[in-house]
Amino acid sequence: MSPALKESLEELLRARRLQAEAPPLRGEDRRLQPLAFGVAVLDGLIAGGLPRGALSELHGPVSSGRTGLAIALCARSTGRGALVAWVDPADRFDPASAAEAGMDLTRMLWLRGSKSSSLPSALSALGTVLGSGLFEAVVLDLAGVAADEMRRLPNTSWIRLQRMIEDSPTGLLLLASSHVACGPGGVSLALGPARAEWSGAPGPGRLLRGLSSEASAGRHATRRASFSLDAV
């Protein structure tokens, strides 16, 4: 076997992780890569992306870009052929926005809440989704859930979810308006109020061009970065 062919075969084995039981190849890093948002400054803020096997959160006020970032993360996963799940107790997800962001909707399991369903039933479904081990990224959208309903949840819910995904390749992301929970290995990304960018002077024909916001990570929000999302 020629050295070049051997090298390319080893590269393929490393990329596909097809020798799970065999000792690592030369230069092979068996650790799974974090799930990146695709925004370089944000990914740099949290060491490359959302850690797998941990409960992370992305919180911020209305129109801070939380949903756009979560959709971008899921779109990157589906683009690699992985499956994602979006647990949506308040039924606020917009498939058209996700498709525009490049998400493959056939690889996304969307669980939509209704007025009659409760948050505990959504958490129960989330447990089923996480327990299956089929999904690379799972988003729990709590941004539209009423605060009193959130308060009724037992605190152990988040510990249970964290335990479920430990040592699994799944990344769990909570989407919320304010801090909810973050696992020991997870990241808590706080978004600040966003600034809207418009295409021109007020008047007919003006367009919303995007949002600019600031994100902070770390216990005392010591690491900060600015980012923007496109709207057109």
Partner: protein
């Protein structure tokens, strides 16, 4: 030795000669609707003589059909020709095949119509006449068919018996000593019937596309459930989980006295894994997960959305979550974009206008002065069906929130469609 059973008259409804023949030997070939061939090799050690065996076959056939003939010979062709032309039982001794079939009319052979007419014009009346012709001359005139017809006229075989595969029935039943009440103990009995069933499927290189669970209840009624997951499976654990989840949703109304499962077999799907493709999700685990989420999927609240080919905002349908094999797309690109967080249904709103543009919005949970806006963007459609017409605005409130509001042109009212996030 070969045997042949031939029904001289149409068979009564429900009588299948192949089933009758299988009571003697598993190697059975159905030649036509009323004719069946049996492979009787080795039966000489069981039956004292071929005649006794033939009598037993004929007696068994006569019980089911009014007029049957049977023949035993050392070639299947001879047995077939003789059974079709002679009533009762005929046993052809070894080496006398050609002599036995020689007096039979040439129409006994399944010849093409034009060839049969040609042989009649040549003056050939019996199989013996055809067998007496030189093989070389027949080959020169008819090609390879000529010698083949000659061998058939001598009662010789061209091909071995092709046995029909036995019908595949995969079922397993268990009669319980004591009635079982509750799903937890039933789970153990499900394992006892599903494991041999799935082992049988795997042995035959089959999977179960569907499984029917038939529970006999103490009150004499039956509780039947049929499960058909997205992917066929022969994994007993998966099927047990699926059945248990289904029974949790649709429990039997009384204690259970008997358990029976029947599988609908389907060929196992060969999967060619590729080094170049990402790993695909296990179909069994996916089916199990979706079964656990049946409360969501059965009400249309769980699945994969599919956008409709329409300009109507929010036009999509929910479909079963069944991801297909992933094909990497070179041109697929993902972008980080502002997304809409939709209110379903849109929030009715009161909007104050200044110089034709929204200046203040008030809806449930959304209220404030509008400090920046973009619009209006007008759209309408579906006038031939359920018409819609709207005038959209993207607005920023003084509180900082960005919302998409619209005025319904048909209802002359304002709504908040969603939050831009």
């Amino acid at each position: 030795m070969y045997g042949c059973i031939h029904a001289c008259q149409p068979l009564p409804p429900g009588v299948v000669l192949v089933d009758l023949a299988r009571t003697f030997t598993p190697r059975v070939e159905a030649v036509a609707d009323g004719t069946v061939l049996l492979d009787l090799q080795g039966f000489g050690r069981v039956w004292p003589s071929p005649h006794d065996l033939g009598q037993a076959i004929l007696a068994a056939a006569a019980e089911r059909a009014p007029c049957v003939a049977a023949a035993l010979a050392w070639s299947r062709r001879t047995a077939l020709l003789v059974a079709r032309s002679r009533p009762g039982l005929t046993v052809v001794p070894a080496g006398e095949e050609a002599a036995t079939v020689a007096p039979l009319p040439i129409a006994s052979l399944d010849l093409p119509e034009d060839r049969r007419a040609l042989f009649e014009r040549w003056g050939l009346a019996t199989l013996g006449d055809l067998a007496a012709l030189p093989a070389r001359g027949l080959a020169e005139r008819f090609g390879p068919d000529g010698p083949r017809w000659r061998r058939a006229a001598r009662g010789e075989d061209d091909q071995p018996l092709v046995p029909a595969p036995p019908p595949e029935t995969f079922s397993c039943a268990l009669e319980l000593d004591w009635p079982v009440d509750g799903l937890e103990p039933l789970s153990f009995f499900l394992a006892r019937v599903l494991e041999p069933l799935c082992a049988g499927l795997v042995e035959r290189h089959r999977r179960a596309a569907a499984i029917t669970l038939d529970l006999g209840l103490v009150d004499g009624s039956r509780h039947r459930r049929t499960l058909k997951p997205a992917a066929p499976s022969a994994d007993a654990r998966t099927w047990r989980t699926l059945l248990r989840l289904d029974l949790e949703t649709n429990p039997p109304k009384d204690a259970i006295q008997s358990v029976a499962v029947t599988a609908e077999p389907t060929p196992a799907r060969p999967v060619q894994f590729s080094l170049l493709d990402p790993a695909q999700p296990s179909p069994e685990r996916l089916a199990e997960t979706l079964a656990r989420l049946v409360d969501w999927t059965s009400t249309g609240r769980g699945g994969a959305p599919r956008l409709l080919d329409s300009h109507r905002p929010g036009a999509f349908v929910m479909e079963t979550f069944a991801p297909q094999r992933f094909v990497p797309k070179l041109c697929r690109s993902t972008t980080t974009r502002v997304a809409l967080r939709v209110f379903r249904p849109p929030l009715p709103a009161r909007v104050d206008l200044q110089q034709g543009a929204p200046a203040f919005v008030s809806a449930s949970g959304v209220r404030g002065a509008i400090v920046e806006r973009a619009g209006p963007w007008r759209a309408s459609g579906d006038w031939w069906d359920v018409a819609w017409s709207r005038e959209e605005w993207d607005v920023r409130l003084e509180s900082g929130g960005l919302y998409r509001i619209f005025r319904d042109g048909l209802r002359e009212s304002w709504f908040v469609e969603g939050e831009l996030d």
